[in-house]
């Protein structure tokens, strides 16, 4: 068969026989693999040119099934100086018992996608900041009427207090009792008015709080490094991650996309710094995860050019950049700081050179979820229910958070027993959920410790199996009060909370 017609196609095509020998290849294949005819002539087998296993596996499969197939996105990194993303299509030529393979190079699309996704995220952030700034100027504009609104109740309150003072100085207090009463009510009502005005303003300013969820730092780091992977390869920078924490799931309560953006900003800065050194020596970035009693610490170090003393204070400022126009908005570190501060964390420059190191701290999940619920608490509500959930699975924590968090129910989470016991110590919880099978301590042990801390409210086990007799015993002994069988859903959670909420009242 005349395969020469394939030379007029722009797709790289190669034809192999059952033994993986190259029977024909078109011009584009030579360009694509950067192998001239001289090179290909010397090789017999396709795998000598493209060494990836998925390719030979696919060829084998086609010969076996004698039908065409298309691969998913695969990576070819065995070719000299390149990393190519492709989708491969293979067809079976039954007459000659050959397989024809064509390659669709999607490397550029993939790189562009990553690049523009980052830029769009940055644009979104800028837009958000502009909206914020705009909101603030609107606040300025409505200050006039707000001031008027607040000044009236303030005048009434202060004036009425002066009246009250005068009443106290009068001789016959008893006859003034009714007036005193109405004065006091006026004062109280005035302050409530002021409170409502301010609440309204706060709501306006912080309108769209980002959705937070329970997520492991390890997962965030993994996602972030994957997104910058092509840039790392291109600059030949080696990135390594060291986890010094006890578990593999360091859980925090944040918006994971924003945290990824934070890491991507820092890693990209490191890559740029390394690229600017033009050095042959060690090109590497190291990410280290540590933990203290209260927080997680993430260190990002690079062997780049470092940060000169003169600009060390400025780098966190908005719109400060040392890069060329179009290469960075200068908002990276400013945005990163804003993000981390909104989670009560910190971002600082630990060491300006050799290696340049940034340190991120972020409070552990339990601390954050308490802070978050305190801020969101509606003080006007009579009944504030505080529920503690102790479980090391991110999915379950999020499930609880989504099903029952509301204005008058606060869900606080802890992922390990020690953290949980620290929280219980200050005596604020109405209902406690315990995961029966956690690595450090099983449910009974933990429940015993909880009871020791004088917690008298209901304890509910989250467990996969229910042994009737054991349950009866434990319930009667008062160790725990109820159980929820896994897998459970939102309705199961809401109904069990309702059941025990009445008991708490």
């Amino acid at each position: 068969m005349n395969f020469e017609i394939l030379d007029s196609l722009f797709e790289p095509i190669v034809i192999v026989n059952k033994d993986n020998e190259i029977v024909y290849y078109n011009h584009m294949f030579s360009t694509f693999t950067k192998s001239s005819p001289r090179i290909i002539k010397n090789k017999k087998y396709l795998r000598e040119i493209i060494a990836t296993s998925f390719l030979s596996d696919m060829v084998e499969l086609i010969f076996k099934t004698e039908s065409a197939t298309i691969s998913k996105e695969e990576l070819i990194d065995s070719l000299p100086d390149q990393e190519i993303h492709v989708i491969i299509k293979g067809a079976f030529l039954s007459e000659q018992s050959l397989v024809m393979i064509s390659f669709n190079d999607i490397t550029i699309e993939k790189n562009l996608y990553q690049k523009y996704r980052y830029q769009i995220d940055e644009l979104k952030e800028i837009h958000h900041q502009i909206v914020q700034a705009d909101k603030l100027s609107t606040i300025g504009e409505i200050t006039a009427s707000i001031s008027h609104e607040i000044s009236n109740p303030l005048t009434i309150a202060s004036g009425t207090l002066e009246l009250i003072k005068a009443l106290f100085e009068s001789d016959d207090l008893n006859s003034q009792k009714e007036l005193l009463d109405s004065c006091l009510n006026d004062v109280i009502e005035s302050f409530m008015r002021i409170n409502n005005i301010i609440k309204g303003m706060k709501k306006f300013l912080h309108g769209n709080e980002d959705k937070k969820e329970y997520v492991a730092i390890e997962e965030i780091i993994e996602n972030s490094t994957r997104l910058v992977n092509s840039q790392l390869k291109k600059s030949q920078v080696n990135l390594s991650v060291k986890n010094n924490t006890e578990s593999n799931e360091s859980i925090i309560y944040v918006n994971s996309l924003k945290m990824e953006q934070l890491f991507i900003n820092l890693i990209k800065n490191s890559i740029d710094s390394i690229n600017s050194t033009n050095g042959e020596s060690d090109k590497s970035i190291q990410i280290t995860l540590n933990e203290t009693a209260m927080c997680y610490e993430i260190l990002i170090s690079d062997t780049g050019a470092g940060i000169p003393k003169e600009i060390q204070d400025k780098i966190f400022e908005s719109f400060f950049t040392t890069k060329e126009v179009g290469e960075g908005t200068g908002l990276g570190l400013a945005i990163a700081t804003k993000i981390i501060e909104s989670y009560q964390g910190t971002l600082e420059l630990l060491s300006p050179i050799a290696p340049t190191t940034f340190k991120i701290t972020i409070p552990k999940m339990s601390t954050l979820s308490i802070a978050s619920s305190t801020l969101n608490r509606d003080n006007d509500q009579e009944m504030n229910l505080n529920i503690l959930v102790i479980d090391d699975e991110v999915k379950i924590l999020n499930l609880f958070n989504e099903s029952i968090s509301s204005n008058n129910i606060n869900v606080i989470c802890a992922s390990n027993p020690t953290e949980a016991l620290n929280l219980i110590d200050d005596g604020r919880f109405n209902i406690i959920f315990i995961d029966y099978s956690m690595p450090e301590m099983n449910g009974d042990e933990l429940a015993k410790k909880v009871r020791k801390l004088n917690y008298k409210g209901p304890i509910i086990y989250l467990t996969g199996k229910a042994t009737d007799s054991k349950i009866k015993n434990d319930i009667s002994s008062g160790l725990f009060n109820d159980h929820l069988l896994k897998p459970f859903n939102k309705e199961d959670i809401t109904s069990i909370v309702k059941k025990w909420e009445l008991g708490v009242k």
């Binding site: 722009f10 011009h27 030579s30 001239s36 005819p37 001289r38 550029i108 600059s235 060329e324």
Partner: protein
């Protein structure tokens, strides 16, 4: 990011300007320096272009729209540029031509591929010219029919 395209003027005469391109031609590249020159004859030296991808080619073709009235001469085109030119139409137009380019030749003696600078005029009938170095005849290390395709394009 670090290999951004840089364009410098290497020759500036009354009727002609020559530009040297360094770095990679990609989606971020702009060519204002060239479009603002407005000379009748523009020479573009590709000698230090490291890479050009399909996005870069698109940018290039758009840029050519802005210099329709000038004569454009490409010189010292590296292999990566020739490969792209062969794949995409629009690089060669009535007002553009390739003066010189690099072609890969293999030396058996040193077991190495050498990029040899050729003039377009040296290619006759789509055949690679005979090149000798150190008493050795070098072997053209690409596919002739494919590599010299661009010479057939007239724009």
């Amino acid at each position: 990011m670090s290999d951004k395209l840089v364009i410098n003027i290497t020759k500036n005469e009354s009727e002609l300007t020559e530009f040297l391109l360094q770095g990679q031609i990609d989606e971020d590249s702009t060519f204002e320096e060239i479009t603002s020159s407005l000379k009748k004859k523009i020479i573009i030296d590709f000698n230090e272009v490291t890479l050009i991808n399909s996005c870069g080619v698109r940018e290039w073709i758009n840029f050519l729209e802005n210099v329709k009235d000038s004569t454009i001469i490409y010189k010292n085109c590296p292999q990566v540029v020739i490969e792209q030119i062969n794949m995409v139409h629009g690089f060669i137009l009535p007002n553009t031509s390739i003066e010189s380019f690099y072609a890969p030749y293999y030396s058996e003696k040193s077991d190495d591929v050498i990029k040899v600078l050729l003039l377009s005029d040296q290619i006759i009938d789509g055949k690679a010219p005979r090149i000798e170095q150190d008493d050795e005849e070098l072997e053209f290390d690409a596919i002739e029919a494919q590599y010299f395709q661009f010479l057939k394009q007239k724009g």
